[in-house]
Symmetry: D2
Subunit: 348 residues, 4 copies
């Protein structure tokens, strides 16, 4: 019963099978492998973007930091929400890769709004050479609090960015979960809504460790390649990144897995709503639930071997009815039985 | 009638005279000049810190950025208020010099409180290797909104920092104005209140361009010297920095000037309180006033050649009674007559 | 017939099998997986270094750049040979990760000598704060030109470094090939010879993409972890790095593979010495040969599908007897038959 | 008798007078002062470059590092001679400001030649994404060994750079000395010879601390301004930089001073040629002499209070006739009498 994160689940058997298939004889290194040629074309097709520049790296932080470094000068500032992964969970990687750009925190909520974004951008207006200059806007889709931006929301944020001539980055570590939730196309969720560069996650949704970075405008493709190499993120045996992504994209595995993860999450959410004293505190649009459970429920779950993050409080000592906050993440691999067992234990 | 900033006034005649005196024959370069030996001892004496490491640079941003780079690892975060000069007015210099450390904004007010500081520090607790690590606390004294921290306030913030093992930096671009306002000793306002490193300003208070950086613990003195050189802030003809600081410190010129600037500010503030429709919106503890004046007053002042920052609104078009915010800064050199003329024009 | 590089060959079946074994259910992310616990202990045992800090990353450049960043301040300089991978083949990654440290090139040969190293270190002596400060020495073992440093050579270089208080890094992208060539222990080739930090390669010798970084003194272990995360090199599904290394170390697979690669190289070298007009131009101590072959031989090999780097000249046009330089790299997976076929084609 | 460096002499009385003149009332800060307007136009006129972007900073290292950072991406490499100030004497400032670009050392001599430059550039050709990319060429005029490049030499180096599409930077810390030596125009020594960006020194030739950076193509002017601010090199009381440069340029003070320094150097060189056992070892084209003097001469000079760098050997102990190398630098302020006294003492 592991609900701690979608970064700790297994890889798809198809991904492992693709690795084995790719492991025959020699292959051109450093991204010149023929599987990468296929992956590039597949992603261009999925995104309806025949000119897009497409690259693979092994971690989501690398995808984000390298994308932002290509978009943002060191004297500029990235605009993002206070819960953005790039702000809270990357140990200053964006600042490192941009050579010291600032992250400007927009509003106080999990999601930027056009109003808070405009206000933050305006606040960088009056200081001339003295303040950081306006740089790209980074939208997290799915957010770290589990919310999925609607197409209209993305469009509205992009419109604000564009009205100032700023680029738009989408941190799509859970891109597939968002697309599955919105039931839209990849193009609709990105360039048709004004997004310029996408971090397209694979790791959290069934790969071992691979993310794509997609530039709809390929002007800076070579710069990105140099930054990737200089960041030590260019794989010599690149075919093993390509093969993962190949399997992930084949037969819509990525979307099917994400749908399953979202369905698992809905099942868990529905069940939690029937647990006495439990309350869901976020909008579980995709595969992440924030909830409060009574201490006693946490105690029973811990005893039963359930793993997830309790975000505050001591589960061992205190009023058994006191609600303690937690995060529950579902990936594709969790079975209905496991979810139901979890719920049964929670109910006591 | 120039109230735009204390960075635009003249230098003291004594400062120029000291430059002329220093300009005889040859002098050891790069900080080995004998005037610097004197300056070092004088500052150690003023700060009652016989072991302190003392360095000169030419800009306040250099003092801050180099001090913080010596205190803060690139994977750490500096804690500061949202109006801190290091955050708003240094075009990412702290991020640059620290190789990409983050600035964490504490609270929403001009001044951090022990509570907001503790809360910000705590928020960097639970992410292990993933989040930025806790780094130094930077206090701005005088704040950019004109407030002076009391000794107790500095002590309380330092105590919070110390309780987490964090260093404390004081951005004292207007150090003298603050000390004059508090009528305390330099030691009381710094190491006796828990401050580890000080940016001690000269430029805004009558020098041409010189700031001292003072480390009460000299352990990192050599590292600072290397960072200063690498930052291109080591002057070959260093005697001309030393001479400015020498004149600034001699006969308490620094304190006398600051007192005069503060008195000028009080005179201006008192007068403004009698201007119809005018309102002072900050706590003008030192030499900076934030106020709202009716548009008509701004118009009269502009016509009379007064220079200062109007912070919002169009002074030319609109209701003559509508209050528009502005900032008014006094330095030591402004005459009573000029202040009174300004007030007369404002009153109309 | 692929002799272009050992970074383009397949992974060992054992490595793939280990990935499959690791892919069961959930595992703690970010290096907290139990396979990593085993890998850490195995490497400590192999290196006879029970206190060593051991980390995994996915690329050799990451291993080197992160190791050096932990050893070298930004105002210091790394000493290395002119052919070092960190200097020629990492697109400024060491400069990036160290925040701008310099690489000082020692001598003009593939290998530093105690004399050239001492001379380079001495040359950084007389400039005080103005020049880069002395930093770590980085030894490449096997060198990019195929030479293996003897234990005495490593010791002699380390002794020079130690006499100045400098750290010693070993870039062991081909660590196993070197150890196999020297028939020594891992401890003898490293800390017993004065090495402080090792980049221990797996990728070029049968893994998909994994390298270990080993600090014999664990003092900076936490700093390394933070730098790894900030560099975006911390894998969430870390077990898939661990599993590769686990398989690589098990049953001496790493040494067996390296021995095979070296034997393959000896077979190729012996054969080349019998090719008319061919000349081996390096010391092929491990698995890399630099040679000159007549243009006609290159033409025959190209026609037969052989892949390797011709380093200068146009193989298509010119005197058929003109020798053109090339590099030939053997990995463990090349068969005797393939080598013999290559030689037959070369002979014409 | 101070011949240690031209960075330790006094400032011109005219420079001090200009500071005093500038010190009246208020002035626009941060480079918006009217003196700067005049300086900009004067430099544009001197350089026959009406579109040039012109900026002031206080140190030569700042001028070089900021200029190069504007010209060179972090994944590129600057080409310079092994004795270049940017390589040997700036404690990695260029690496810092460029965010980790590499300096590639061209040849082994004080001056690059078209052949060695071309060879170095070519060496950065074959590695694709793996090696540093080709960046700007930096020429030091006067070199650190005292040589002045002829116009033809500058042109020949620029031609090589241009043939690869690379920019050309001129480190002119001693620009005036070089121009005086060549008896040419500023335009001839720069853009007419292919130079794109100039560090135009003032400090070593009679200013207190000011250098201009001149971009003949103003495309990157705003980027430079942002980098200057972010580097903490933007002066608030900028008029005091402007005034120095104003006085320096007025009535050809800069050229007159440089001519005097060069004449002083010629007088010293001529005299040294008559000192028994003395030998001049460089080409003293401008104001710097490298020479060998017998130990006894050094002893006599030291006893007489002469100050200069002895570059090797112990002057106190050893054969009195053994030649020991030294550097002797003349600035404008040294009197004929002092030079003659120095020579008399040297002769013994």
């Amino acid at each position: 019963m592991y609900f701690a994160s979608d970064n700790s689940g297994p890889a798809h058997p198809e991904v492992l099978a693709a690795l084995a298939r790719a492991n025959t004889g020699y292959a051109m290194p450093y991204g010149a492998d023929i599987i990468m040629d296929e992956v590039r074309e597949t992603l261009r097709s999925i995104f309806e973007a025949p000119e897009a520049a497409v690259y693979l790296v092994a971690t989501g932080t690398a995808a984000n930091a390298l994308a932002l470094a290509t978009m943002c000068a060191p004297y500029e500032t990235v605009f993002c929400s206070p819960t953005a992964h790039i702000h809270e969970d990357e140990c200053n990687a964006p600042e490192f890769y941009t050579a010291g750009a600032k992250l400007s925190i927009v509003g106080t909520l999990d999601q930027m709004t056009p109003e808070t974004l405009r206000s933050s951008i305006e606040a960088q207006q009056t200081r001339g050479v003295h303040g950081p200059q306006r740089g790209p806007v980074s939208i997290t889709q799915v957010t770290e609090r589990g919310a999925v931006h609607s197409l209209a929301q993305i469009k509205a944020l992009s419109d604000v960015a564009k009205s100032y001539g700023l680029g738009v980055h989408l941190d799509g570590a859970r891109f597939a979960n968002a697309q599955a939730a919105l039931d839209c196309s990849a193009a609709e969720m990105t360039w048709k809504a004004g997004v310029d560069v996408v971090s397209f996650g694979g790791t959290k949704n069934g790969c071992m460790g691979v993310e794509a970075v997609i530039f709809f405008d390929p002007t800076k493709a070579w710069e990105f390649e140099l930054r990737r190499k200089r960041g030590a993120h260019l794989f010599s045996k690149h075919r093993f990144l390509s093969a993962q992504m190949q399997a992930y994209l084949a037969d819509d595995l990525w979307l099917k897995s994400a749908k399953q993860a979202n369905i698992n999450c809905q099942r868990l959410a529905s069940g939690l709503r029937t647990v006495e004293g439990a309350q869901i505190t976020n909008r579980p649009d995709a595969n992440i639930i924030f909830a409060e459970l009574p201490r006693a429920a946490h105690q029973r779950l811990a005893a039963a071997g359930a793993r997830y993050y309790v975000l505050a409080g001591d589960i061992d000592a205190g009023d058994p009815n006191e609600p303690l906050p937690c995060r529950l993440v579902c990936d594709w691999s969790i079975s209905e039985e496991l979810i139901d067992t979890f719920l049964d234990v929670a109910k006591g």
